[in-house]
Symmetry: C2
Subunit: 363 residues, 2 copies
Amino acid sequence: MNIPQRTLMGPGPSDVPARILEALARPTIGHLDPVFLKIMDGIRGKLQQVFRTKNEMTLAMSGTGSAGMETVFANLVEPGDKVLVAINGVFGSRMADVADRYGAAVEKIETRWGTAFDQQSILDAIARTNPKIVAIVHAETSTGVRQDVDRIGAAVREKNALFILDCVTSLAGIPVDIDNWSVDAAYSGTQKCLSCPPGLSPVTLSDRAVARLLARKSKVKNWYLDLSLIKQYWGQERFYHHTAPINMLYALNEALDMILEEGLPVRFERHAAMHSLLRQGLEKLGCAYVSQEGHHLPMLNAVAVPPGREDATIRRRLLEDYSIEIGGGLGDFKGKAWRIGLMGYGASRKNVTLLLAALAAVL
Amino acid sequence: MNIPQRTLMGPGPSDVPARILEALARPTIGHLDPVFLKIMDGIRGKLQQVFRTKNEMTLAMSGTGSAGMETVFANLVEPGDKVLVAINGVFGSRMADVADRYGAAVEKIETRWGTAFDQQSILDAIARTNPKIVAIVHAETSTGVRQDVDRIGAAVREKNALFILDCVTSLAGIPVDIDNWSVDAAYSGTQKCLSCPPGLSPVTLSDRAVARLLARKSKVKNWYLDLSLIKQYWGQERFYHHTAPINMLYALNEALDMILEEGLPVRFERHAAMHSLLRQGLEKLGCAYVSQEGHHLPMLNAVAVPPGREDATIRRRLLEDYSIEIGGGLGDFKGKAWRIGLMGYGASRKNVTLLLAALAAVL
């Protein structure tokens, strides 16, 4: 097994620092070992800081970011529940698909790929549809768009509904403020701005969401992700559910330490500054952003493939000649856009400079 | 994070050799990187050898062993399908619970904890109930019992049903023979006899099972584990589904290499020999097996806590004074039995000798 040293500037996984890889490789211990249980408690506390929440039910699910999405819908949807999903890219569509599989009556509102919703249009849809759940993607990884959501939570609570927010790409790269935004369920992935390998999904549920879960009329239709069982393992009972991915949790613990050592405000500024630097360079090279002005994600830069250039050829040359990975487009943007990641540890002057120089040479 | 060096002799996770931890810590690369896709193809081929199958759909699911269980039921059960489950411990009960959540009409047959089923009783139940699926645990981790299954497959096929086999604890420790036993769906976990950290679940489906999956009337009620989507990523299409747990797959690849270098027959003999050695020692110490004679699992030795001894105290002393982990009992055996693992790399003379000496001192 001959693994090259890439510079990962796609939509994730992102570059993982040596310190986190070292943590990953520490000796495996048991999932009920007192030492491990203490690490789990530490992870909860650090995740609470990163999500900016006091939610007791804050943990890492044993799957990738998509498992986090599945977790919140599996646990919070009962058959027939009306779920309002805002769709402006792949991950909004995926939320609708997942909710549908758990029997939701899905109501969709859509806006063009590359644009964000005006919050008022979401508020209007909430008023019109009376949903039990409102689901929104904070950072749409397929289009590089940031969705403002600070006005949503109050309206959702007024309807006695729950607010689900997809923070897979946003967490630890731009401000995420679960409690102040009155978010009831959020999830992320380790392989984006947390700078960890893929394999875990941090999830947080408000007390209102937990109450909904515990008041379900039917069992959660997913044993592996059933939080009513899993909370007995992450909680004081320490009741065995499934064997936790021990080493991945070491890595997440170390990644969270690095984030809190840097400090969230400094980290957000770094992402913003590296994004500005990258943007200036990309625009000089004729790569225009496909995401709406004022809503660019610093960690996921979606730009048009310059006219007359072939997407796959250029990405292959970056990979083969420079060992740099950038992402291709998904869905509507397939073959038309690149997704350039500046995530966590990878949001560095070194990476920006290298990519711009390589891209200039290849173009 | 101060991780002690344990000797893991519980029901899993088991000791992970340095070579596999080193593989785990190699640089993360992208899930669509050609180098990584080649590793995935290699893993499929090696898993086919270890499962002894030609099944094209052989892969590693992005979750722990329980996710493998969930995968086969989520994909193969449609609402109303009759599923016959043989239960003689925790994991049989779990299969029934999971099948029920996907809408199965579950038929249970049970035998006493610690005993195996007479195969004829399973055949009789198949004849009586006409199931669409028959689900059996090969190695019951809660009781240390091996279930013979060589006569089941033919009867299942005669009914045009599917045969699901739980190989979480058996794979790579005792013979597993998917094709010769006409098993249609099997799953395992990386943290037992594969000697890898927990986090992945090897799964294999026969062409008959795949045909059933592709002929479903309804979508799989689990997006994350939907094999009709995931096969487009593991197959030639390489269509993005979710971000694979890259580093965990490095570790699995290395673990499979180590298994095939040793050779399966040699590995099975080693497990059997170490089990004999352990057994002699345990019986001298007054620890009687709670599993049925002739059906002991070499990798999971379930023995009664000697009369007058307190389970938790002794396990705590082993952990604190000797850094050895053994497992407590589950369910019916809670507080009454220990589960002593000799799994994969950990099935060694060194571990047996150490445990027997420590146990003698503590008792």
